[in-house]
Symmetry: C2
Subunit: 234 residues, 2 copies
Amino acid sequence: MKTIDVCLSPELMPLYDVSNRTVVVVDILRATSCMVTAFANGVESITPFADLEQCLKMKTRGYITSGERDGKKVEGFDKGNSPFEYMDNQVLGMKVAFTTTNGTQAIEKSKEAKEVIIGSFLNLTSVVRYLLLGENPVLIVCAGWKGRVNLEDTLFAGAVVDKLKDYLGLDCDAPLAAQHLYNLAKGDMSKFLSESSHVKRLNRLNIYKDFEFCLTVDKYKVLPRLKNGVLVSH
Amino acid sequence: MKTIDVCLSPELMPLYDVSNRTVVVVDILRATSCMVTAFANGVESITPFADLEQCLKMKTRGYITSGERDGKKVEGFDKGNSPFEYMDNQVLGMKVAFTTTNGTQAIEKSKEAKEVIIGSFLNLTSVVRYLLLGENPVLIVCAGWKGRVNLEDTLFAGAVVDKLKDYLGLDCDAPLAAQHLYNLAKGDMSKFLSESSHVKRLNRLNIYKDFEFCLTVDKYKVLPRLKNGVLVSH
C-alpha cells in the first residue's frame, strides 16, 4: 500500500528519504496560497528563491518580483505574498520570482524529491486527486514558521490525510496528529486558528482579509508543480 | 509572564535558546517513565549516555547498566528500559548507567539548559508543581522516535500545557497543538494511542503491560533532575 507521511517542519526534512516521493509543500499563510492564486489568475511560471538578493535580481530579466520577510513586503520588490496582489489581469502570462520567510525555503529543501507540488486549501481537492492517482508515496512538508511547527499548515496536512486515509497507509504519528487536529478544527477553522501565533502576527499586520481567503476550500483547480526548479501549472 | 513552549522533536532543539529555561525531557514509552519508576523505588542516581559502548563500560565501575535500542534490551546489559525491571528492592541505593534509542539522546541535547528535569505521566503533578513555582520559562522536549514526532510524548506535553495555561503564556503553536491533542485523548489515552506507531511497535514486542503502566497518572511523586550530568531525585 502506498503511504503518506507528514513532515511538520522543514528542519525535519533530513529524516525523510524523498527520492521516490511526491512532496506537497504547504505554507497556508501565505506563500502557497498566493502561488495557487497566481496560477489561477494566469501567471506563466513562478521561480522560487530562498535568497532575497538573488530573487530581486530577476527584475532585470523581466520578472515580477514577490518578496516577503516576517510577514511584510520587502522594499524594492513589486509585490509581497498576499493572494490579493495576484488577482488582476496584469499578471496574465507573467513570470514571477518569489521569495518568502518559510514557503520558498521549504521548496528549496524539497528539491531532492521525485516530484514537488504546491498545496493550499484553495486547491485542496486537486492535490488530493493527484496524490490518489499517483504511484509515489507521499510526504506533506509543512513550511512552519522559521523552522517551528505551526497550526495552519498542520491542519492542511490533516485535511489531506483525512481524505486519503482509506487509500494510503499512514507512516508514523505525525499524520495521525495532523488528522486529529483537522477533525477538531474543520467545523470552524478560522475560530480554531484565531489563537495561533501566526494569525496573531497577521492581525498585527492588518491582513485578516488574507487569512480568511487562505482558508477558502477549493476555490481553484490549478495544481502547481516544480519542473526543473520552476513552478508551472500545466 | 513566564512562558511555556513545546519542542516536538529533539531535531528541533537548535531552534530554541535553552540557556535560561527549565527543560522537561519526556519519553513516555519508556525511558523517562522507567527513570521515574527507578527513583521511586530507591535508585541513587541515573547517568544517561547517548552512546551504547560508553554506557556498557560503567558495569566495571559497579553500575547497573540499562540498554535499549529499537525497543529491545541490548545484549550484555543488566536491564532494558521497562519500568517493571525497577520495582524490586535490589535497586535500592544503586547507581544506574542508562542508554536508550530516544530518551537519553534528548537529555544529551538538553544539556545546555539552565536546568533539566524528567517528566512522565507517572510524576505529572510533581512536574507541573515544580514548573509553576519555578522562575524560568519552560521548554518541554519530546524525545519522539528517531527524530520524528510521536503522539505519546506530545500528549504529555499537552497535559502539562493544559494544567499551566492559566499561569504561563504560550509560545508559538506547538503547545496549542499538544494541548488540543491531549484534550481529545484524555478520556481514554490508551484507546487514543492504540493507533500510534510506537504502540504498534511495543505490541509487536509483547510489552502491552508497560504501555498501560506508563499511562498511569501520578503514581509517584519523585522529580528526577540533572545535576552535573547525573540524574538524582533529591
